[in-house]
């Protein structure tokens, strides 16, 4: 993977830069020694590693401003970082860059139940927001798989989703306000605690901008009241086509389940071997469907869905009667990444989205590609919203295997675009999909996005080399 050349004048001034940062930040907030930099050299896309020039760990917004102003003054590149769980390399450092890690800004500042919002610092984990409000039966809706570790600042930067977006939307749909430090060190207050903003939708623009426009220092999220209860069912089918048709039938019937997950045969087998969730091993495709409401409402909804499934000759069908049985059904799906990890220590998790009607055709093409590349792939799919997660298994000790896995992944994403979908549904572009952007966007469209980035960050100091293909358009 190509990266921009480190600026030699910055590398040469390393000691001076560290001293400069130490002069304006508290002791312990600046990391410069090789060993301590090591944990910051990669993120959730661990195939790529690059230690940064330095790491700063601000404790408050004033320290963020000080660090950003210093970097701006000296033309130093900045890599914002939350928990480092990005699966697209969003937090991968550059050799001449300062990583600004937000993990020490981890306080919940305000919770307001009457107006249903919480104000938090960017280093608060996703799950911590829900934990802070669950005693009042509230929750924060987006639930990415990494929710125990990932931080809300990263969620906003990547516009993270989760298994329940079909009903509750993604991060962008659950935000009210932000504070953002610009590259000049100015503080922008975007939105607030009200619902609609007047004028341009800065909140929508900044959400999912992958650290290209500024550094988040505060996030105001909507919190929602939890439903009375939820319950899951599973249904196994004889083919991907049949399961896909069943998904269509459920949606067309007017029912929007809170989650609608799809697993193909390799994923079913891997998850079952790992979690012993009782998944049907003779099924080619499995649906996990979850509904919400009172006991009676759950039963009513699950009966309707069961009747729809029955028309598609399910190989097996299991409707949970209790919360424990629901948890058992989810156990396999939630452990999917770990399960694949047991079969293959290394895998790439892809993240394209397709129109749901294209699912059978796309899975068929993927099987052909899998044979051609000689690499196994398992599919987990948010079926309701078309977000695919093919897990491509490879051997990291074999450079050829890794290169093949990358090429296979790129082919899958090009296929997603070809059938009317997109490169990434919830993981972000990062460095991983940067060079595929021209498959989805024209030169004029990419230039328009770059121009917006330039309006915020004229010298391209913020998280450079991500999102956009490296080109002459980006200042070096």
């Amino acid at each position: 993977m190509q990266q921009p050349k480190p600026k030699p004048e910055i590398l040469a001034r390393r000691a001076e830069i560290l001293a400069g940062l130490r002069a304006i930040l508290p002791a312990g907030a600046v990391i410069g020694d090789e060993t301590s930099l090591r944990p910051y050299e990669t993120d959730g896309l661990s195939a790529y590693r690059q230690p940064p020039l330095a790491v700063v760990l601000p404790e408050d917004e004033a320290q963020v401003v000080a660090a950003v102003r210093f970097c701006h003054l000296h033309g130093i590149r900045i890599i914002p970082r939350g928990a480092g769980t990005s699966l697209s390399g969003g937090a991968l450092p550059l050799a001449d860059a300062v990583v600004i890690g937000m993990m020490r800004m981890n306080r919940i500042l305000e919770i307001n139940y009457a107006d249903r919002y919480a104000v938090v610092q960017p280093g608060v984990t996703n799950i911590a927001i829900t934990q802070a409000v669950e005693d009042r039966n509230f929750f924060y809706a987006p639930d990415p798989s990494s929710q125990l570790a990932c931080m809300i600042g990263g969620n906003v930067s990547m516009n993270s989703g989760g298994a329940h977006c079909l009903k509750y939307g993604v991060t962008a749909n659950n935000l009210l306000g932000l504070r953002l430090v610009t590259i000049e060190g100015e503080i922008l207050e975007i939105g607030g605690t009200h619902m609609d903003s007047a004028g341009y939708d800065w909140l929508g623009l900044i959400t999912g901008s992958e650290g290209q426009l500024g550094i988040l220092t505060q996030v105001t999220v909507r919190i929602l009241r939890s439903p009375e209860g939820q319950r899951a069912m599973l249904a196994g089918f004889a083919s991907n086509e049949i399961a896909g048709a069943c998904v269509d039938a459920i949606i067309s019937s007017g029912i929007i389940p809170v989650a609608l997950e799809f697993m193909d045969r390799p994923a079913i087998h891997a998850c079952e071997a790992f979690a012993h969730a009782g998944y049907p091993l003779d099924a080619e495709a499995l649906l996990i469907i979850e509904v919400e409401g009172s006991e009676d409402e759950q039963t009513d909804m699950l009966t309707r869905i069961r009747d729809i499934c029955a028309a598609y000759h399910p190989i097996s069908i299991r409707v949970s009667a209790t919360a424990e049985e629901s948890a058992a059904i989810w156990k396999g799906r939630k452990g999917a990444f770990g399960a694949i990890g047991r079969i293959s220590p290394d895998y790439l998790c892809m993240d394209g989205t397709i129109p749901t009607s294209q699912l059978p055709a796309v899975l068929q093409r993927m099987t052909q590609m899998s044979e051609a590349y000689g690499l196994k792939v398992a599919n987990i799919f948010h079926a309701g919203d078309g977000n695919l997660h093919p897990l491509i298994m490879f051997d990291a000790n074999d450079q050829d295997s890794f290169r093949k896995a990358e090429a296979f992944g790129a082919d899958i994403l090009r296929l997603c675009v070809e059938v009317g979908g997109c490169l990434t549904g919830e993981h972000g572009v990062g460095i991983e999909k940067r060079d595929l952007m021209s498959a989805q966007f024209s030169a004029s469209e990419l230039d328009q996005m770059r121009a917006v980035k330039s309006a915020f960050d004229p010298a391209w100091l913020l998280n450079p080399s991500k999102v956009f293909p490296l080109s002459e358009h980006a200042p070096a």
């Binding site: 009200h194 619902m195 609609d196 979908g421």
Partner: protein, 374 residues
């Protein structure tokens, strides 16, 4: 000019000698600031639904498609727009206008605004380049979300030519809980309790003139019956909960959506503020002869009153004090041209906004001055 193709729009922009008034059928001309332009560029002839996949919950329509036509096509398949756009600008408002102004109705409080359901747009920027942002799938984080950014930008960055949006099934039944005899404080507390309940309240409004609050539940019939009864019982401390059935509920919420409860006045405003600030805002404006009603559980305040600078200042002060923002929705031209029709951007953001605008529309010809004085 009203070209019937996107390329025609692009050509018109490239050939424009000066500022263009960008619009669909022009039904929202009285909103915000008047535009000084010698020529009008309309998307009214760029009409028609280009994609509708009910099983994928997605529709695409050219910008000039009438909202009524979109809603009729959805209703035929038992679906609806999630954001419930208000029909406050007559029968001719277009889908482009609805998204360009991000106007949402009662369901916004639970289901999100128009901007939340935009999946993709096609647009022509101020250089006359046709561009496509976003797509047609429900989850998409590829690149900067310029589809969302162009939504609600009032045609000042690019001209929307086609919008792709998420839709949802229309619910089998609608029920409303009505509680009378409430002042604004009690009404907002009741609406917060309803929206903070586990019963999926899909709208909450308060009409001060009738001293009555309304909570809506939409779902399958059995669910609506169960939840209206259960929620009504939980809200007993606020008064007797009267329950309204499906047909009457639909008529009631259509009226609220379309601002029928708003008294006639020479000017109309909207304020979006945290719900608990709404009673204070209403009280502050009463002496100025400005009154209205609450939607979005108190998070949206529709107001009407005299079209004077003093009245407008009172609205902006009350909105600011309540931590909210305002839109001047309707007023005679002299007032609209003289005041901040939406809050000014702080200097650091205004500088970025100017650079962003220059990147979309370097000649500054698209709806100049529509949002803020140039």
């Amino acid at each position: 000019m009203a070209p019937d193709t996107e390329e025609g729009i692009a050509e018109a922009v490239r050939g424009a000698a000066g500022p263009l008034l960008v619009q669909g059928n022009g039904t929202k001309e009285a909103m915000l600031r008047p535009v000084q332009a010698a020529q009008t560029l309309s998307t009214s002839r760029l009409a028609g639904i280009t994609l509708y996949a009910p099983n994928e919950l997605v529709m695409s329509a050219r910008a000039g498609t009438r909202l009524a036509d979109v809603e009729a096509a959805l209703a035929e398949r038992g679906q609806q727009m999630i954001g419930e756009p208000p029909h406050i600008h007559g029968p001719d408002q277009t889908i482009g206008g609805i998204f360009a102004t991000n106007l949402s109705g009662p369901r916004r409080v639970a289901g999100g605004a128009m901007r939340d359901h935009v999946l993709g747009v096609r647009a022509v920027n101020g250089k006359g380049e046709a561009q496509r942002f976003g797509g047609r799938v429900l989850k998409n984080v590829t690149g900067l979300d310029l589809a969302k950014f162009l939504t609600g930008s009032f045609g000042t960055l690019a001209i929307l030519t086609e919008i792709t949006f998420k839709v949802l099934p229309a619910c089998e039944a609608t029920g409303t809980i009505m509680v009378r005899g409430l002042d604004a404080e009690a009404a907002v507390r009741l609406m917060s309790a309803g929206l903070g309940s586990p019963f999926s309240v899909s709208a909450a409004a308060y009409l001060p003139a009738a001293r009555t609050a309304y909570l809506r539940i939409e779902d399958f019939s059995a669910s609506v019956t169960y939840r209206t009864e259960k929620l009504g019982a939980q809200l007993r401390e606020f008064g007797v909960a009267e329950i309204i059935g499906t047909e009457d509920s639909k008529a009631l919420w259509r009226d609220i959506r379309d601002c029928k409860p708003l008294a006639a006045g020479d000017a109309t405003w909207r304020i979006s503020a945290p719900p608990s600030a709404a009673p204070r805002i209403l009280r502050a404006l009463e002496p100025h002869g400005i009154g209205g009603f609450l939607d979005w559980g108190g998070g949206l305040i529709w107001l009407s009153g005299p079209a004077t600078q003093a009245a407008h200042n009172a609205v902006t002060q009350a909105a600011r004090a309540g931590g909210g923002v305002w839109w001047l929705m309707r007023a005679p031209n002299p007032l609209r041209a003289a005041v901040d029709v939406v809050p000014a951007e702080p200097p650091a953001l205004a500088a970025i906004a100017a650079r962003v605008r220059a990147q979309f529309d370097p000649r500054g010809i698209l709806n100049p001055g529509r949002l803020r004085a140039a």
